[in-house]
């Protein structure tokens, strides 16, 4: 048995550093907003010839169409505007055709600005309801509020790590805050609890059968589950890494978010949820 709880301060330090770095990034850089939240138009084309984007955007400017962002990857051209009408989209296409010869439209998306705010509000509601649901279920299942609260504390920890971490990814690699990220957060929430339950299940078992000291039970539980936890998150990480490296570009950052979630979800169960539970249990005495 390894005395995992001895290094509590280290875990606290690691978590603090990661979370503070993330929060710092949120407050200084924020996120690169996708049109899902801020509204706007994204047009993605495949062209037969390389296109000179700067001359294109000059010409579009004279027609009062401002290119907010642009990206060229080989023969794929992505342009971002403030929300365009379909007539304006036609103008862009026609201007592009002058340079590029044959053009295939890969993607054309326009979202009004109001939708984004609504989505955020709804996601927050959904998260709160999910957390409450998890609290209630765990309280019933473990017959103890302390287990439930500790699991939710770890969950909130993971949430902070994710939003902060994603902001850093956004700063360095241009990941966009979009509805898929929202999905990733909610998935991580369930994964985080999933992992915590496995450890808590052990602790519960020891407490019932031997009524030994909580520190001893916790250490024993973490020791016995740590291999399983690492193995498990390795398999998920394999899957996600394969998708990041070889998968399509549309969902790449979604998978990155899931990977951050998987890692923090695995970390938080033994190193956040368990110490917190021990602290709660000891406090009553």
């Amino acid at each position: 048995m390894i005395n995992f709880l001895r290094y509590q301060r280290l875990y606290f330090l690691i978590s603090s550093v990661v979370i503070v770095a993330g929060l710092f990034s949120i407050f200084t850089n924020g996120y690169k907003n996708s049109i899902d939240f801020s509204g706007g138009t994204i047009l993605q084309y495949q062209t037969s010839r390389q296109v000179d984007v700067s001359s294109l955007s000059e010409r579009l400017k004279t027609q009062k169409l401002n290119v907010v962002e642009q990206e060229i990857r080989g023969k794929n051209l992505t342009l971002k505007f403030e929300a365009l009408t379909t007539a304006q989209e036609k103008i862009v296409l026609n201007e592009l055709k002058k340079d590029a010869g044959s053009v295939t439209i890969l993607r054309a998306e326009t979202v009004g600005a109001t939708l984004g705010k609504e989505t955020i509000a709804k996601t927050v509601t959904a998260s709160i309801v999910a957390i409450l649901g998890i609290l209630i279920y765990l309280t019933l299942s473990f017959k103890s509020v302390k287990f439930a609260v500790s699991a939710v504390v770890a969950l909130l920890h993971d949430l902070l790590v994710m939003v902060g971490g994603y902001s850093i990814v956004s700063y360095f690699f241009g990941a966009e805050l979009n509805t898929l990220f929202v999905t990733a957060i909610l998935t991580t929430m369930s994964f985080s609890v999933h992992d915590t339950i496995v450890i808590f299940d052990k602790i519960r078992e020891y407490r019932i059968s031997k009524s030994e000291d909580i520190v001893l039970s916790a250490n024993r539980a973490v020791t016995e589950t740590i291999i399983r936890s690492v193995n498990n998150s390795m398999t998920i990480a394999f899957m996600l890494l394969a998708l990041i490296l070889f998968g399509g570009s549309t969902i790449r950052f979604f998978i990155v978010a899931l990977l951050i979630g998987t890692l923090t979800g695995t970390y938080s169960s033994p190193f956040v949820a368990t110490p917190f539970l021990v602290w709660l249990e000891k406090r009553k005495k």
């Binding site: 993607r107 979202v111 939708l115 999910a130 999933h194 399983r228 969902i251």
Partner: protein, 449 residues
């Protein structure tokens, strides 16, 4: 008993493989002197069982992001309507959009209405539409309802079909705005369904003129220049309350009322979101995802076998059945596969492996305690199930909220998120099944001391 299990598992396996076969895949290879050349297709059923027609083609349904198409969200402007008329008006605007889509001949379009706060929206999905601009222009038009008089002359083309057609004058004085509302009522004498029309003050006058002039002649009611009905005037109607009778079923009467209302309660709609994905992008993405998923699976399989040896092989077998079963279920329930759904599926594979790891670690643990092989397997299994159950329940809970089956307006209502949630939920349920039932049987059969 044991042999029964062998047979059951083999049959299940064959059935799953059959359902999951790729569509229209040409299989060609040589085996010694023989050459095999066939086209593979998944199972498709079309039989009669005790009078029940059973028809099911097991094909994968792809979402717009994979096969290309347009996703449009219109916001309705209900400001000019009485709040009591809003449900009818919303229903009618949905109806007219469906009518107009039929004009395009799109296969499997989707039109649904969504309420968000005090806003009413109409979501339209058009798979494979080429000219999105034209579609948006046509769908976004406010409905145009008018009542037309029969033209004085019949085209004198005797002998052809068109000679029997009635021609209506496209110039019309009575418009949708003059109609207050159409409702389905029942004839007090016969009890048959009919459609009652009430007109506005101005409309009442025009209609009185119209019916006086056209006694015993038909009046054409047109929506978007398509005739929807042409009742014959039986008496002049002066009070602005008319009924259209005919041999209608309740459904037909309701449809007619809805169609008339789309003109009578016109709802201006505005496009607020448009996502068009070209068919090429989706094809590339799906190819890459499948490729990536394959690599990931191989990595996981290697990892499991290296780590758990014989148990790892069993886990892989369980995993293959898991993958086949999930895919078969997607096809059985026609679950739409989107890009985020594919990610959800791949994630759930990871979770399925977890059930196995939990079980194996427990078995190892019981063995370390000195229990004999059989007891260790039995106890380890039983202990692991508790944790698996609790852990998966929370995932199901989150999937439920994300899927939002009742379309509660305070939860996300996005198709993208829904697709992910549904597939995650199916994945979790299937992994519970394979973990608890299939892996257990595989262990009993193949994992001997």
């Amino acid at each position: 008993m044991k042999y029964l299990w062998y047979i059951a598992l083999t049959c299940l396996f064959i059935l799953l493989v059959w359902i999951d076969l790729p569509e229209n895949y040409r299989l060609r290879f040589s085996l010694g002197s023989r050459t095999v050349d066939t086209v593979l297709n998944p199972l498709s059923l079309d039989t009669n069982i005790y009078g029940w027609r059973l028809k099911k083609e097991f094909v994968t349904k792809y979402g717009l992001d994979l096969k290309g198409g347009s996703h449009l969200v219109f916001e309705t402007d209900m400001s000019k309507l009485l709040s009591s008329d809003i449900p009818d008006a919303l229903n009618s605007s949905k109806d007219i959009i469906e009518r107009r889509i039929n004009f395009f001949g799109v296969s499997e379009p989707l039109v649904q209405t969504i309420k968000a706060g005090d806003k009413y929206r109409i979501i339209v999905e058009l798979p494979g539409v080429k000219d999105t601009d034209q579609a948006i222009g046509l769908l976004g038009k406010t409905a145009n309802l008018n009542f037309r008089e029969q033209l004085k002359f019949n085209i004198p083309d005797e002998g052809t079909v068109s000679a029997n057609r009635i021609y209506f004058n496209p110039e019309s004085k009575l418009k949708g705005a003059d109609v207050k509302k159409a409702t389905v009522t029942f004839d007090p004498n016969t009890g048959k369904p009919q459609v009652a029309l009430s007109f506005s003050k101005k409309g009442t006058q025009i209609f009185a003129d119209l019916t006086t002039r056209n006694l015993n002649k038909p009046i054409g009611i047109f929506l978007d220049d398509d005739i929807i009905t042409a009742p014959t005037v039986q008496q002049p109607i002066l009070d602005g309350n008319a009924v259209i009778t005919g041999q209608y079923t309740i459904d037909e009467a309701r449809q007619l009322a809805v169609a008339i209302n789309s003109g009578a309660l016109p709802v201006p709609i505005k496009l607020i979101e448009q996502r068009t994905i070209g068919p090429t992008l989706g094809a590339v993405e799906i190819q890459k995802s499948v490729y990536a998923g394959g690599i990931g699976l191989v990595a996981v399989a290697l990892f499991m076998i290296l780590n758990y040896g014989r148990l790892g092989v069993i886990a892989c077998a369980g995993l293959i059945i898991y993958g086949l079963l999930s895919l078969a279920l997607f096809r059985l329930f026609s679950i739409t596969l989107t890009l985020s759904g594919v990610a959800g599926f791949i994630l759930s594979i990871g979770m399925a492996v977890d059930s196995n790891i939990l079980i194996f670690e427990r078995i190892k643990e019981e063995k370390r305690k000195g229990r004999n092989h059989e007891t260790a397997v039995r106890l380890g299994f039983g202990r692991a199930i508790d944790a698996i159950k609790d852990a998966n329940f929370t995932t199901l809970l989150v999937a439920f909220i994300l899927f939002n089956p009742l379309n509660w307006e305070f939860f996300p209502q996005l198709g993208l998120i829904k697709g992910f949630a549904l597939i995650l939920a199916v994945g979790v349920l299937v992994s519970l099944f394979t973990g608890v039932v299939i892996t257990k049987k595989l262990l009993q059969i193949f994992y001997k001391k």
